[in-house]
Amino acid sequence: MTLFLASARSRLLPASVPFRFFAIAAALHVALWVALIFAAGEFTQFRGGVGHALGAAHLLTVGVLTMTAVGAAMQLLPVATTRPLAAVWPTKTVFCLLAPGALALIFGMFAAHVGAMIAGATACAAGLLLFAGLLADNLRRASSMPLVRAYGWAAFVALVLLLALGFALALDNSLGFLADHAGLALVHMILGAFGFMGLLALGLSHVLVPMFALSSAPKGRVAWAGFALAAATVAAAIIGALLGLPSVLAGACGLGFAAALLHLWLMRATLKSGMRKRLGLSFVLVRVAWAALALTPLFGLAALAGWGPGGTLFGLVALGGWLMTFLFAILQRIAPFLASMHVSRTGGGPALLSDFSAAAPLKVHACCHFAALAGLALAIVLDNAPLAALAACVGLAGALAFGLFLAGIVKTLASGKI
């Protein structure tokens, strides 16, 4: 029972800040699967270009992944670095720019409306630049956790480049000033999936996985080698895409495979030495996400070798299998944790994490999520649009279940009592 809490130096944001990001991510997660139902025909052969499939891809990357990562990072980073954010209002401003910006950008892609795309990209870039500033300020003031800070700085650089390139690509749809739009779109994808989101996910894993498993964080030369390999992978992939050199891209895939294996080895050692052995459903998702992480460079190599569905599968495994699975695994752990800090029991005493565990919706989400990803992968291999639409329907059921889980937490938070 809490007798006295001096929270003057607390690094906890008001619950409404991270949860507004999580709520819109959950809503756009539902929209993603609906969009995929209607874009199934394009999706199985998607290689880029404005249209429904590109809109669906950005529903996932900007709407679901970025929104979740920004909301989680703004709360978790100050806790991890023990340095509070400079102020709360910039976090709300990030949301006010990013949420409508994402909606406009995605609408513009679906409707092939260049004006909406440029306006959305502008607002998203402004919001994410402000987030990048908050991230940089927190990392600059942190004195501990050099490895996590290194991942954070690398993700920061990737985010700034990602935004500049994303804005240029949106403008290019109107002005046509880029010599190689497709090549730069690939660089944009690499910066987003592996630079910003990937490095942020790998870095925060060095805090979150030990925190959940009650274990020491990976450290020493092997952990630094993991960072060096991951950063080198992103750098090599960008150079390969910029110069249009398949051999360099293949080298990046090789580096990426080594980085993934080393990360998995570090995480396995972390779990093995942890005091908590039963990690629940969320770590089933984490393990599947890790498998997808290791498979991603192999699909990249397959695409480079000329295997038809390789490129689309590479995107699905990286964005859906690795990043989306990992983020939803983490979100289902941290949402109850954050909520428990803001709610008390009606009969007195603090709320317990178990008070927020809605097992049924999370089980439905996990089953549907895995089935949908497997269905989409098969649909890509067979180039079968009806199968992709069916898989998207299953994914939609999972997204609704996850939305139900999050809505339950938000409802409890709103009442302040459980």
């Binding site: 690094r11 944790f337 428990s340 800090m341 709320a351």
Partner: protein
Amino acid sequence: MMKGADPDAPRLWREGDRLHVDVRGLCCPEPLVAVLRLIDGGEAGDGLVAHVSQEPLLLYPELNARGWRYRLVAPRGDDEVALEMSRPRA
């Protein structure tokens, strides 16, 4: 567990019948893990005082789940607060 042998190890000492642990300066989530090792391993007995750099937010849900009572003692300096924890009487 004394500092010196391992720079990442927390410093332990006793004041009266109460075990104290200094986890200041350890990287996240080491303070959380060090305190829970003492509690779950039985070394803490019925009570423990943790000296931490800042309010240990990550620790609260774990203590709540174990039914431990806790209170944050007023800051002793710019870089220290103490968390008094006690096992509830059966």
